[in-house]
């Protein structure tokens, strides 16, 4: 399985969820685990370019596929990914627990709709819960991320989107 561009050895235990594999076996704790039944959206990662819930996949299912987590968006010291930059500028986070999931969902949303309408933004973030109730700022952050993405081409944008998985 390739995670953020690096090949990792296969997980052998079929019971291991992809979310737990990323966190416990690969040490990528940026992917958060909230509800573990697909409701909260905190564990959203890109699977072959499209956002999915990592708590609803087995790690063995990702073998031979590409997974991108929040850690893959910007390397340490480099400028933030446009979506991260937009969340920072627009105060799109408070406690930050839900943020990696929102950011990955929005990366997927902007790959699908580079200039999202208000409805598309609301639909795009409707599968993520924020308990600090920061939705208004998050909506603004998505708009800002759309502007920033068009100024700064991101390596993740559009990659593999909509292709057969």
């Amino acid at each position: 399985m390739k995670v953020n561009g690096f090949v990792h050895p296969a997980q052998r235990d079929p019971r291991r969820l992809l979310s737990d594999h990323l966190r416990h076996d690969l040490g990528l704790t940026g992917t958060h685990v909230g509800c573990e039944h697909g409701v909260c959206g905190c564990c959203t990662v890109l699977f072959d370019g499209a956002p999915v819930r990592s708590c609803l996949m087995l790690a063995v299912q990702a073998e031979g596929h590409e997974v991108s987590t929040v850690e893959g968006l910007a390397v340490l010291g480099a400028p933030l990914h446009p979506v991260q930059q937009a969340f920072h500028e627009c105060h799109g986070l408070q406690c930050g627990f839900c943020t990696p999931g929102f950011v990955m969902s929005v990366v997927g949303l902007l790959a699908q709709h580079p200039n999202p309408t208000r409805e598309q933004i609301e639909e795009g973030i409707s599968g993520n819960l924020c308990r600090c109730t920061g939705y208004a700022s998050i909506r603004r952050a998505v708009q800002r991320a759309s502007e920033l993405s068009q100024q700064t081409p991101s390596p993740l944008r559009g990659e593999g989107w909509g292709k057969g998985r």
Partner: protein, 250 residues
């Protein structure tokens, strides 16, 4: 949370998958996993074997057949949502699939999986019923066409035999007036009640153990929906009448 122990199988052909389903005791098919994996995480489902069909190539087609749309077992809901063919031939299915959870779930979830799971509050079984569609069940014994009217047997219960794999669902064209309306507490949640109109046919969901056909002039007749924290039986009946009126007003 962690799923209970199971033996994992990843067949690479439909024949291999059917052979596994035919020989294993207590096996479940894993397609999109958006309903099954939560059940495993909660340990509400404890199958001894999981047969993961995701590595079977060529099982994700969406194509025109017999004046309708055929959707194969691994066609994701997002693919059906974006399909121009589905939008042209069966726009009711396009409208319905948009009501299924959220896009991130639909990126993984499958149409055939929703049908095989047969959640009484789910949209797609009611759409199949309203359109008079069918599914194709394959096993080592051969193919079997099961009409929507006989496919849904009860809560999470279908006419599929343990050795059968649902390989394809067929939805007839929806050229006439159509509507799918539902009421849920939050966007993307399961519906408290919902109605599907396909021309003059009406199917209801969320108000009986299976989707049911109803008379548009008196949709609540004979219904005895259950009550829970989110809605009383009376409120569900009210929703059925109101949503039916709206669906047929257009």
């Amino acid at each position: 949370m962690k799923p209970p122990p199971f033996e994992y199988h990843s067949p690479s052909t439909v024949e291999e998958a059917c052979a596994l389903l035919g020989s294993l005791e207590d096996a479940k098919v894993l397609a999109g996993g958006q309903s099954l994996v939560p059940l495993l995480n909660f340990r509400l489902a404890r199958p001894s074997h999981l047969v993961d069909i995701n590595r079977i190539p060529g099982l994700d087609a969406i194509y025109e057949r017999d004046g309708g749309v055929a959707v194969q077992a691994l066609a994701r809901q997002a693919g059906v949502e974006d399909s121009e063919l589905v939008a042209r031939v069966c726009p009711l299915l396009t409208a319905a699939v948009r009501l299924v959870a959220h896009r991130v779930i639909r990126n993984r979830g499958t149409v055939c999986g929703s049908l095989a799971h047969a959640d009484p509050a789910s949209e797609l079984p009611a759409v199949l019923l309203a359109l008079g569609g069918h599914v194709i069940a394959r096993s080592a014994r051969g193919d079997r066409v099961i009409e929507a009217g006989t496919f849904f047997r009860g809560v999470f219960e279908t006419a599929l035999e343990p050795d059968e794999l649902l390989v394809e669902a067929w939805f007839s064209a929806s050229p006439g007036p159509f509507a799918i309306l539902e009421e849920s507490r939050r966007h993307g949640d399961f519906a408290l009640a919902g109605v599907v109109r396909a021309a003059d046919r009406l199917a209801l969901f969320g108000v009986a153990p299976t989707p049911v056909l109803a008379d548009p002039a008196d949709p609540a007749r004979g219904l005895r929906p259950s009550g829970d924290l989110e809605a009383t039986p009376e409120f569900r009946l009210h929703l059925v009448r109101t949503l039916t009126d709206r669906a047929f007003a257009a």
